[in-house]
């Protein structure tokens, strides 16, 4: 008993301070992975059932709606191609570093609940699909988080609302740069470093600034929901609501920015 507690304490310290236990975790995850598959069965089979049992009419309607949306998106895509080409030309004129583009990999969430104190999800792509630590994860609307651990066939994503996560952002309206911190609540981000007189309003869109090298710049993150200026405090109390569907996301996109220089190795984590 004393031995078990001592070993556990030692493991906790080692696991927390350094990452020497990664291999042990990976080995044990081989045992745990089938159990996780079983745990996600009810959710995935429910989805399969509702898809199979839905009527022809519903499917046709959905098909029609999707086709319309596709057309709309294609139209926007045409403009995007032209804009991208123009951007490239201008960058070449300026002789600045070229952003070649983003490579996107689609992954599905494995429907399992992790530790309730952490805001993390597991996705079904791992080392075998070329996922790497620190990779940015998006859903259809906005930034969702970043990959923090890669196993052979799955990886763990830390969401932007986790209290240990900090994300470099800028206000889309005026380019004001700041950092968005997670609060631990699924629908709230905090911007603690904005002085009282900074130009920020309710409704402002926050986008990734790309500083820090982890997240590609220009992806939407959140919308400002509350700005409170207290005259006695040096900083304003600013809250934002993530635009991504953190609770309901089902498919996510893994983004890799193709640039000439390699991504910085450090993770943007708040030191305790």
């Amino acid at each position: 008993m004393a031995a078990a507690v001592l070993v556990s304490l030692l493991m906790m310290v080692v696991d927390h301070r350094e990452n020497h236990l990664q291999s042990l975790r990976s080995a044990l995850s081989v045992i745990v992975a089938p159990l996780q598959q079983i745990a996600s069965l009810p959710a995935s089979s429910g989805e399969w059932l509702s898809e199979t049992l839905s009527s022809r009419q519903t499917l046709q309607e959905e098909n029609r709606a999707l086709r319309k949306l596709n057309l709309k998106l294609k139209g926007r895509q045409q403009k995007l191609a032209a804009l991208e080409a123009e951007n490239m030309r201008l960058r070449e004129l300026l002789d600045s570093s070229l952003k070649i583009g983003d490579q996107i990999l689609i992954a599905e969430l494995i429907a399992i609940d992790l530790d309730p104190y952490k805001q993390q999800v597991v996705i079904n792509r791992g080392d075998n699909s070329g996922v790497f630590e620190g990779q940015a994860v998006l859903d259809a609307n906005a930034v969702l988080g970043q990959v923090i651990r890669v196993d052979p066939f799955s990886s763990t994503v830390l969401m932007i609302t986790d209290p240990s996560h900090a994300l470099p952002v800028e206000v889309n309206r005026n380019g004001l740069r700041t950092i968005a911190m997670g609060t631990g609540r699924i629908n709230e981000l905090e911007l603690p470093h904005l002085p009282n007189n900074s130009d920020i309003q309710v409704g402002d869109l926050l986008v990734t600034s790309g500083l820090g090298g982890h997240f590609p710049p220009g992806y939407p993150v959140a919308e400002i929901t509350q700005v409170v200026n207290k005259p006695g405090q040096p900083f304003a109390h600013v809250l934002a609501k993530p635009s991504a569907n953190l609770e309901r996301a089902h498919e996510v996109l893994l983004v890799r920015t193709l640039t000439a220089d390699p991504p910085a190795p450090s993770t943007e984590e708040r030191t305790p």
Partner: protein, 162 residues
Amino acid sequence: MTVIPHRGGLIIIASFVLALVLTSLPLPEWIRPFRPAWCSLVLIYWCIAAPQRVGVGVGWFVGLLVDVMTNTLLGQHAMELAITAFIAVKLHQRIRLFPLWQQAFGVLLLLLLEEVLSTIVMGAIHRPASALSYWASPFIGMLLWPWIYIILRDLRRRFKVS
């Protein structure tokens, strides 16, 4: 004196597998704090019913699997479950004789101890304290204990786990 061969190891393993699956079964956000500690409940039962088979070692290993499964600090649940198993094995002869509701109170104390330990660990690594609603989980575990006890006891008798 004859040596009685161990039987029904599969039943023990299966019950732990089911508990692990239930631990990570996806639930709606609002109901998540009320998820009972399935692994602890099953572990306590086997420690009381078959202390010669299930003890600190098994508890520690199951805890390690919980840590990997829920992505907590490696060793956190292992320590909690090892301590739980130790206490349960120490007191198994007494707990066995209690009526069910009294057992349930003992289980509540063990589950609360686990919650306290995990709060201490969380504090030590500077994670924010958990919401108050998470303290409901040991009480749900207490309410579930009689059913878990009866189900596992019937399984144990049926398959003659010894």
